[in-house]
């Protein structure tokens, strides 16, 4: 007499409800659009930048400090180079920084956080004290100290940032794991004989991956922000490699007369960070997770 019930929530035709919810979040869409647009422009920079040959060792002092015009939409800098071209290529430096820092910091932090949260004990105690100590250090100051100690270059800055960054993920993942490992389903999986590896990577990780993703998106903007600060202080990419923070720092010397030299690169940083933040906020709402 029991009719086989139709499972609820069977896929319906038409829009996926997740995409519908995301689509309703206009800021998140704008963020996604910005990040994709800038990412694409960065990839295609050699083809879409108006003067790609000005990226290498190039100067043209006779064309220096020209205000924005049709020929130079963002004007030219003190060495006569097209600011728009340098902004487009400057994004490459920002993306590189972000990819290296997060590419090293995130996996490391997630692994350590998983270990600390799940095993507890000494692993946890040491790791968490360590993150406390790292948290007490202003990241900018530390990176500045380390980079100037080793070599004031972008590479060292990236490594120093990565060396700091894992702590945030370790902390985040540690907290998540601690709360999730008390859930009955972990207990149940353990009672049914699941291995530790299975529990960590198949049971726990899938449940926190969305939070990590949100954190990564928000952090992408933050890393770029810090990187811009570092290059503003003179620890950016080596000339002639374009670097947005360096461009702002150089241009700031000629304010307000030659405003375009600092303002456009500054807004370029801002827009990219804005993109990542809007996207991150959108994802946070979408996944309904808490990330500081």
């Amino acid at each position: 007499m029991t009719a086989v019930p139709t499972p609820r929530g069977a896929r319906r035709t038409g829009e996926h409800p997740g995409w519908y919810r995301f689509r309703k979040n206009r800021p998140a869409l704008i963020g996604l659009g910005l990040v994709l647009l800038i990412g694409l422009a960065t990839l295609l920079a050699p083809w879409i930048a108006p003067y790609p040959h000005q990226i290498g060792p190039f100067v043209n002092f006779s064309a220096a400090n020209q205000p924005p015009s049709w020929a130079h939409l963002m004007g030219t800098d003190t060495a006569g180079r097209d600011v728009l071209t340098r902004v487009l290529f400057g994004y490459r430096t920002s993306f590189l920084l972000m990819l290296v820092v997060l590419g090293i910091g995130v996996p490391l932090g997630v692994l350590l956080g998983l270990a600390a949260g799940y095993f507890g004990g000494w692993t946890e105690a040491i790791l968490m004290r360590l993150t406390d100590v790292f948290l007490a250090l202003p990241p900018l100051a530390v990176v500045l100290a380390v980079t100037s100690a080793l070599a004031p270059s972008l590479g060292t800055a990236m490594l120093a940032l990565a060396a700091l960054w894992w702590t945030w993920y370790a902390r985040l993942v540690h907290g998540l794991v601690r709360s999730i490992k008390k859930e009955d389903f972990i207990l149940a999986a353990r009672r049914s004989g699941a291995s530790t590896g299975h529990i960590l990577f198949r049971e726990i990780l899938p449940n926190i991956i969305s939070t990590i993703a949100v954190k990564i998106t928000l952090d992408a903007g933050f890393v770029i922000l810090l990187g811009a600060g570092l290059s503003f202080l003179g620890l950016g990419a080596r000339p002639p490699t374009p670097d947005l923070g360096t461009m702002v720092a150089d241009g700031a010397n000629y304010l307000p007369e030659m405003w375009w030299e600092a303002i456009f690169p500054g807004f370029a940083i801002l827009v990219l960070i804005l993109g990542f933040n809007l996207l991150g906020d959108g994802l946070r709402d979408y996944f309904d997770v808490e990330v500081l």
Binding site: R129, L137, L150
Partner: protein, 342 residues
């Protein structure tokens, strides 16, 4: 657990953190391959002079011994001699810290006085145009690099409108002795020196706003989020249904419970405030500790770097300790101790 043992616990953690901090700072500063002796003697000194000074400064001892000396010195308030200014680093820091403190305090005040109520208001009018405007403002604050915000403010208020000064702490024509607090705004207020107070205040506005923006946005967002979170709580629904007024709900009965996460964030925000102070002080030629540190770092002034980063770290740890205590006060469960529940 009682409040007292809660405090003691937090204090223990803070001390432990400080110890780790000193170790890390020491290690970082001692992988610096620079030569402070060379620096002190000036560019034209001979190698023999340099070697002599290295011995004098103890730079040729093994690292653990140097760390021991360092810690011993710290405990006696001796941060070493700054190789650039030739002063005791502690003295350098003490003379510059008030300026930074003034800036950071002003920024904190802005964050608290504007950020928290703004977040509360946005949560109250969730999804309305007020909320939209607020989100725009707060995200604008978060995504604008503080140095760029500073530059923009300089252009608008310094150059175009020319209504606010764009560099320094007080104008030169205004006599200022640096006493008693070293913070001209406060000193002007304390001594009733209104020209000084007004002048210093005007100098403070742009740097403080640039510094505050990022964390203001962040704190406002957190306040908004936790207010919304709280607004979904059973007790808020209950209190609303009793007919409590909107204002008292928003600014009292919902704000206080949602203030706790904001408070924690504010503590964490201190690290970024101090970090951003580096940039803001440079942009505004602010005579604070961060620009001293930036210079010291670039010149590999080991003692000064160690001193400043340590002071920042201590500052941060102490602030967070205070935040914890305050959180304990706001949260009666921590203050009065939990009762064991069945």
């Amino acid at each position: 657990m009682t409040y007292l043992s809660y405090i003691a616990n937090k204090l223990g953690l803070a001390l432990l953190t400080l110890f780790g901090l000193s170790l890390i700072i020491f290690l970082i500063s001692h992988v610096i391959p620079g030569d402070p002796a060379r620096l002190e003697l000036g560019p034209l000194a001979t190698q023999a002079q340099v070697l002599n000074l290295r011995r004098e400064l103890g730079l040729n001892l093994p690292l653990p011994v140097q760390y021991g000396n360092y810690l011993w010195g710290l405990l006696h308030g001796n941060f070493g001699i700054s190789l650039v200014t030739q002063h005791n680093v502690w003295h350098d820091i003490a003379t510059r810290l008030p300026a930074t403190l003034e800036l950071v305090l002003a920024a904190t005040l802005l964050i608290l006085v504007i950020g928290v109520p703004l977040g509360a208001l946005a949560a109250r009018y969730q999804n309305s145009w007020i909320d939209g405007l607020f989100r725009l403002l707060s995200i604008g604050g978060v995504v604008t690099p503080s140095f760029f915000a500073g530059i923009l403010l300089q252009i608008v208020f310094g150059y175009f409108l020319n209504v606010l000064p764009v560099s320094g702490e007080v104008a030169l024509g205004v006599p200022y002795s640096g006493h008693p607090t070293g913070m001209p705004v406060l000193d002007g207020l304390l001594r009733g020196n209104w020209p000084l107070f007004l002048n210093a205040l005007r100098h403070l506005i742009l740097p403080a706003v640039s510094l505050a923006l990022a964390d203001l946005g962040q704190v406002a967002r957190i306040t908004r989020a936790s207010m919304i979170d709280v607004s979904r709580k059973e007790y808020v629904r209950a209190q609303r249904s009793y007919g409590l007024s909107d204002a008292s709900m928003t600014f009292k009965y919902m704000l206080k419970p949602s203030f706790i996460p904001s408070l924690t964030l504010l503590g964490l925000a201190f690290a970024s405030l101090l970090g951003n102070a580096f940039l803001v002080e440079l942009v505004f030629s602010w005579p604070g500790i961060a620009s001293y540190a930036a210079k010291a770092i670039l010149q590999k002034d080991i003692n000064a770097v160690m001193g400043v980063v340590l002071v920042f770290g201590v500052f941060f740890v102490v602030t967070n300790f205070l935040v914890d205590i305050l959180a304990g006060y706001v949260n009666p469960r921590l203050r009065l101790g939990t009762q064991a529940e069945g």
